[in-house]
C-alpha cells in the first residue's frame, strides 16, 4: 500500500506540473484582459505539433531533440500571440464577454480544423527519452521527469519576469488596475500584447511537454482547454502560483481517484473539485476574496 501511495503521489505531481504550465498561459490572459481564451487548447496543440514536426524531420531517431525545439517553440509562441492580439483580440478586449467568447471559439474551430487538415486525425507520440527511472519500486518516466524539470524552470523564469523586469511589473500593474496603470504612463496596449504573447508562448511550451509526456491529436484541444479552465478556477484568476498549485492539485485528484477508486471517475472528481471551489472559494486559492 505504501508503494502504491508513493506511486500515486509521483504520478499526480508529474502530470499535474504539465497541466499547471498549460493553465499558466490561460490564467495570465484571463487575469489581465478578462478574456476566456477558448482556443487555448489549440495553442497547446500548436506547440505539440511543432515539436512533433521537428522531431520527425529525419525519422524517429534522427530528428531534432524536443529540448532544442524549444528554441523555435518559444519565439513561435511569442510571435503568434503578438499577431493574434494585434489583429483580433485587441478589437474585443473590454467588450461584453460573449463577444470575446465567440471570437476565441471561432479561432478554436479554425485552428482545430487546420490541424486536422494538415496532420490528419492520427494520434501522435514523440518517441523520445523512453524508459523510466525506477526508485524503490516507483517508476518515474523520463519524459515526465524532464517535463517536470522544465515546468519548474519555466515557472522560475516567469516569476523572475513578473517580479524583476519592467515588463513583468507593468503586467502586474495592469492586472491590478488598468486605469491607474495607464494614468501612471504605462502603455497598456503594449502590456496586453506582451501578456497575450507570453500566455500563448507558455501554452505552446506546455504543448511541447505534452508531445513527449503524453499523446495528442486534434481531438484533444477541448480537453486541454477544459482542464486549464478548471485549474484557473482552483488556483485563482491571474495567479501564476495558483495555476501551478492548481495543476498539481488536479493531477493528484486524478491520480488518487484513478488508483484508489476507479479511473472511470476521474472526470467526475475533477468536476466535483471545480464545483466545490465555485461554491466554497470562487476566488480560488490565491484569488482576492471580494466581500
Amino acid at each position: 500500500m505504501d508503494l502504491l501511495l508513493v506511486q500515486a503521489v509521483a504520478n499526480g505531481l508529474l502530470i499535474g506540473a504539465v497541466y499547471g504550465l498549460a493553465a499558466l498561459g490561460l490564467t495570465l490572459i484571463w487575469g489581465i484582459m478578462d478574456v476566456v481564451n477558448l482556443a487555448h487548447g489549440e495553442f497547446v496543440l500548436f506547440g505539440a505539433y511543432l515539436t512533433f514536426v521537428l522531431f520527425s524531420q529525419r525519422g524517429a531517431f534522427g530528428g531534432i531533440n524536443p529540448l532544442l525545439s524549444l528554441l523555435l517553440v518559444v519565439p513561435a509562441g511569442l510571435v503568434l500571440g503578438i499577431i493574434l492580439y494585434r489583429l483580433l483580440l485587441q478589437r474585443v478586449v473590454g467588450r461584453p464577454a460573449l463577444t470575446t467568447l465567440l471570437l476565441t471559439f471561432g479561432l478554436s474551430i479554425l485552428f482545430n480544423n487546420s490541424l486536422l487538415n494538415w496532420f490528419g486525425p492520427d494520434v501522435r507520440i514523440v518517441r523520445w527519452a523512453q524508459g523510466s527511472l525506477v526508485m524503490g519500486g516507483v517508476a518515474l518516466p523520463w519524459t515526465r521527469l524532464i517535463a517536470f524539470g522544465l515546468v519548474v524552470l519555466s515557472s522560475l523564469c516567469l516569476f523572475a519576469f513578473l517580479q524583476r523586469t519592467y515588463g513583468g511589473k507593468a503586467i502586474r500593474a495592469v492586472m491590478q488596475d488598468s486605469e491607474a496603470a495607464a494614468a501612471l504612463g504605462i502603455d497598456t496596449q503594449r502590456v496586453l500584447t506582451t501578456a497575450f504573447a507570453v500566455g500563448t508562448m507558455l501554452a505552446m511550451v506546455a504543448g511541447m511537454l505534452v508531445s513527449v509526456a503524453l499523446s495528442f491529436s486534434p481531438a484533444n484541444g477541448v480537453q486541454f482547454s477544459v482542464t486549464s479552465f478548471v485549474i484557473c478556477v482552483v488556483g485563482g484568476l491571474g495567479r501564476p502560483l495558483g495555476a501551478m498549485l492548481g495543476g498539481l492539485i488536479v493531477g493528484l485528484v486524478e491520480s488518487f481517484t484513478g488508483i484508489f477508486i476507479s479511473q472511470a471517475y476521474t472526470p467526475a472528481m475533477v468536476s466535483l473539485l471545480l464545483i466545490a471551489f465555485l461554491l466554497v472559494r470562487p476566488a480560488g486559492l490565491f484569488g482576492k476574496v471580494v466581500r
Partner: protein, 417 residues
Amino acid sequence: MKAGRSSVIACAMLVIALAIAEHGAVAQGQAEMIKIGMTNSFSGGLAQAASPVWRGVMVWQDWVNAQGGIMVKDRNKKMQVQVVYYDDETSRENLIRLYEKLATSDNVDFFFAPYGSGQTFVVAGLGDKYKKFMVSTSGAAPNIYQQGYKYIVQGIMQADEFGRPYLDMLAKVDPNHKKIAMIYEDHLFPKSVATLVKDVADKLGFQVVLFDRFPAGAQDVSAVLTRVKQLKPDHIYFMANIEGSIVGLRQMSELKVRARSIGILDNGMYYYKQALGGKLLDGIMGPVEWDMSQRYKGITLGPNNDEFLALHKKRFPGVEPDNHTPLGTNAGLILQRAIELAGTLDSVKVRAQFCSMKLTTLMGPQAWDCDTGLMKYPSEGGMPAIVTQWREDASTVTVWPPEFGDIKLLKFPVNKF
C-alpha cells in the same frame, strides 16, 4: 388574340414537356446506378480507425464496377454501384442528420453503417424508418441487432467472438497461470467486448484480479495501470479503441507494468507501429478481424489478399491498408451477393437472403442468424477472429486459432515490460 394566347400556352407546355423529358432522362440515368449511402469519420475521435473501412468500401466499388456492376435479375442487367458518403466528424448529431439526408435527398437504395459499434447503434433504426437495408461494416456489439430492427445485418464478427480467441489461446498454452487483469475503455465497442469476454474468462477458469474501465479518449491511464502493476497479474487484457491502446501500451512501458502476456484489441493495426514502433510492440498480441498473413481458402466472392492489395494500391497509392480496410470491402461483397440472390433492389427481399446465404470472402466464412441479422459464430459457419502477435520488425504473425494460425510461431511468455 386567342390564337396568340394559345401559341404562348402551347410553347409553355412544350417547354415544360421538354424539361420533364430531360429531367426524366437524367433521373433514368441516375436510376441505372445502385446508390449506397454511408458516412465515415474522416475527422474526430474515431477517424484513425474509421477511414480504412471507408477505403475498403471504395476498393469494393472499384472492383465491382470493373466487373460491370451487380447483376439485378428483375432489371435484366448489371448495374454499376455509386457510394455516396459524407463526413460525420464522429458526431452523433451529424450521423442522424446525414443518414436522413442520404435517405431523403440523395435517395440511396441501401446503407452502409458508419464506423464502430457506438455510431452504428445510433443509426441502426434508420434502415427500418426509411425501409432501406443497411449492412453494418464494423458494429460488433450484439445489442445493436437485438433491438428488433429488421433492416440491418452484421458485417463483422460479434464482440464476444472478437474477444474470445485470446483467452482461448491463453487457456491452452498457459494453463497454470490464470490471473488476469481486464481493463477496458468506456466506449461501446471495447465495453461490449470486455463485458462479454469476462464471462468467457470466468468459464475458462481465469481469476479476474481486476475488471476496471477508464474514460473514453483518456490521454493518461497511469492510474489504472498502477493498480494493475500492484496486482501482478499473469496476463493483461487491455481492451480499447486504437487510440486508447496506443496510450495504454506506452504507459505500460513507462510504468514497467509486467505480465506474461499483454493483449490488445484490433492488434496489428498500422497506427500502432506508426505511433509506437516495433521494439515496444514486440510480443504484444491480440484479436483482430483480419491480417495480411491470414489467407482463407475457398473464397466464393471478391478479391483475395493479393488482388485486394493491388486494388488498394491503385486507388490509394502510398497508403497502406490495415486490418480494418477489408471490413469495408466485405460489407460491399455481402450486399452484392444478397442483391444477386434476391434478383432485385427491394430491401425486404435482399434482407431475406441472409437467412440462408453463406459465402467466403477474404475475411473468411460468413453466415447469419435469420431473425437478428447477427453474424453466426465460427462453429456455425460465421466469421472468425484471429489472434496475431507483433514482431520487433513491426510485422505480425497469426498464431490462433489452429485452423487459421500457427501456434508454433507464438513467442511466449512475453514477460513485458
